[in-house]
């Protein structure tokens, strides 16, 4: 007997970057890339390729990605205007995770104004000692409080110090916190001889906090095997068991230079694996993201659009 064909699973990418040529409409941060060699290399990455809306949509079509969260790249500093313009142009395809100066005067107004703007969350990157000390010293508290008050999720990348999220969630118990990149160090941040999975127990322990979710992004960079990266699954199963698929969001981190394979392969190691069932894939590849970031899927029939209901899953 022929089994009925499975409907295609919607694929929503939890993290991509895009940018256009430096210009008056969306000027780049002139200071970015002047700090050190690593920053200069990152600036060269953005100069060497221009990955704007057309190129990104083409890549997504080829890779089988239906929609995506744009994360404002560092080259724009705290200016989210380019990403917002792309969201406005393709509202069915994109939403934005923005960056913001936590000391800005009208921070609360800006966070409150996020709703309906296409900006569905803010990102904080704590990848060195200086930024960690700022975090511990309360530099981000106004942002975290405003985000909690206005129900705007915060994506935080806190490699090696991920356990600190427990403190944040205790102080801001209603804040939706998403751990970027599994909460673990990824290339090029992994030091020589370092076990990138060393703090996996700290990540798993955070699963008991119901407001914490996980972005399963750029994980092929942590594999020592070629696609389909089967060496990742013992680790991924630990995270899946702890959080459940309704708190995990797949993403590619498209344009990341360290990614070992193609964008398409960055999808299929999850979408075509036998390690997950269809229901789990539907959540990890998009359902969870739509719920966490309150991004309703628009279903178009005969040219008429109608919002579908949110996925039935709930955050634990």
């Amino acid at each position: 007997m022929m089994l009925p064909a499975q409907p295609p699973v919607e694929v929503v990418d939890a993290q991509i970057h895009m940018w256009e040529v430096d210009g008056p409409d969306h000027p780049w941060d002139a200071n970015f890339g002047t700090e050190d060699a690593a920053a200069a290399a990152t600036r060269a990455h953005y100069t060497g390729r221009i990955v704007g809306d057309h190129a990104t949509l083409t890549a997504m079509a080829v890779a089988g990605v239906d929609a995506a969260l744009i994360v404002t790249p560092a080259i724009y500093g705290n200016d989210n205007s380019y990403g917002l313009s792309v969201v406005a142009g393709y509202p069915d395809r994109f939403r934005l995770i923005g960056r913001i100066d936590p000391s800005t005067m009208d921070l609360e107004q800006k966070v409150a104004a996020s709703h309906g703007s296409g900006l569905v969350g803010y990102r904080i990157v704590i990848a060195n000692q200086d930024s960690y000390e700022r975090l511990v010293g309360g530099y981000f508290d106004r942002l975290l409080a405003a985000a909690a008050d206005f129900g705007v999720p915060i994506c935080i990348y806190l490699p090696r110090r991920v356990a600190h999220v427990r403190d944040l969630s205790r102080r801001f118990p209603t804040l939706s916190i998403t751990l970027d990149h599994l909460g673990l160090p990824q290339p090029p941040l992994v030091q020589p001889g370092e076990d990138a999975w060393e703090s996996l127990p700290d990540v798993v322990a955070l699963a008991e906090i119901p407001t914490v979710t996980v972005k399963l992004t750029a994980v092929p960079t942590m594999s020592s095997q070629p696609h389909p990266h089967t060496d990742l699954w013992p680790y991924l199963h630990r995270i899946l068991r702890a959080f459940g698929p309704d708190r995990i969001m797949w993403g590619s981190d498209w344009t990341r230079p360290e990614s070992p394979g193609t964008y398409r392969e960055g999808v299929t190691y999850i979408s075509e694996t036998d390690e997950l069932g269809p229901a789990e894939k539907a959540l990890v590849l998009g359902g969870t993201l739509r719920h966490v970031f309150r991004w309703r899927k628009v279903v178009r029939q005969n040219g008429v659009s109608a919002s579908s209901s949110l996925p039935s899953c709930g955050m634990k």
């Binding site: 040529v21 221009i50 704007g52 190129a55 083409t58 890549a59 193609t262 964008y263």
Partner: protein, 187 residues
């Protein structure tokens, strides 16, 4: 390594973008092509287009793109010998293409291909070791004559020499012309 032997600018084409004073200008279609290639793992591609697009794509991504310049109006060329002799000296260019049966502009050139009016292009290409790509659906029989007349010419037949959709409707006997392509000695 995977090299795509033929890609084009999409239609409608995207605009040129100035990268800054004194710097190269870029073509957004080249960025788009590269994004698509990276999404599936194509290492290099040969773009088919005008001089400007071929050279811009190669200049910006010299390890990813080479070009085949498409002569959309061959008879509008001022000096056939000089222009073809210069093709291989232009950055990134590998050869030229003509599409006699399906020109972008102007008349169907299959009669010109048949009666020898295009032979000066082949002679110049042979003399300067410039590969020639021909899109000649329905004109395969002429290729035998050209190949015999210019034995040292690198002649590449596009798309199996057959009429691909949308030039003809997709139908089951689309590959009926294959025996003609494979025929070694056509009178």
């Amino acid at each position: 390594m995977i090299i795509d032997a033929q890609i084009h600018r999409p239609a409608p084409a995207l605009p040129w973008v100035e990268l800054g004073e004194g710097s190269q200008h870029i073509n957004e279609d080249a960025e788009l092509a590269l994004a698509a290639m990276d999404a599936v793992g194509v290492d290099m591609a040969i773009v088919h287009g005008d001089y400007a697009f071929c050279e811009a794509a190669h200049a910006r991504y010299p390890t990813r793109f080479r070009g085949i310049v498409q002569f959309s109006d061959p008879f509008g060329m001022k000096n056939v010998q000089d222009e073809i002799a210069a093709v291989r000296g232009r950055p990134g260019l590998l050869g030229f293409r003509m599409a006699p049966a399906a020109p972008r502009a102007g008349p169907n050139l299959l009669p010109a291909l048949q009666n020898g009016q295009l032979d000066k292009f082949f002679a110049a290409a042979q003399a300067n070791d410039v590969p020639v790509l021909l899109f000649v659906p329905g004109g395969l029989s002429h290729i035998h004559r050209i190949a015999r007349s210019f034995p040292n010419l690198t002649l590449i037949i596009d798309h199996l020499g057959l009429p691909p959709p949308p030039w003809v409707p997709l139908k089951p006997n689309l590959l009926d012309g294959i025996p003609e392509l494979l025929q070694r000695n056509m009178a």
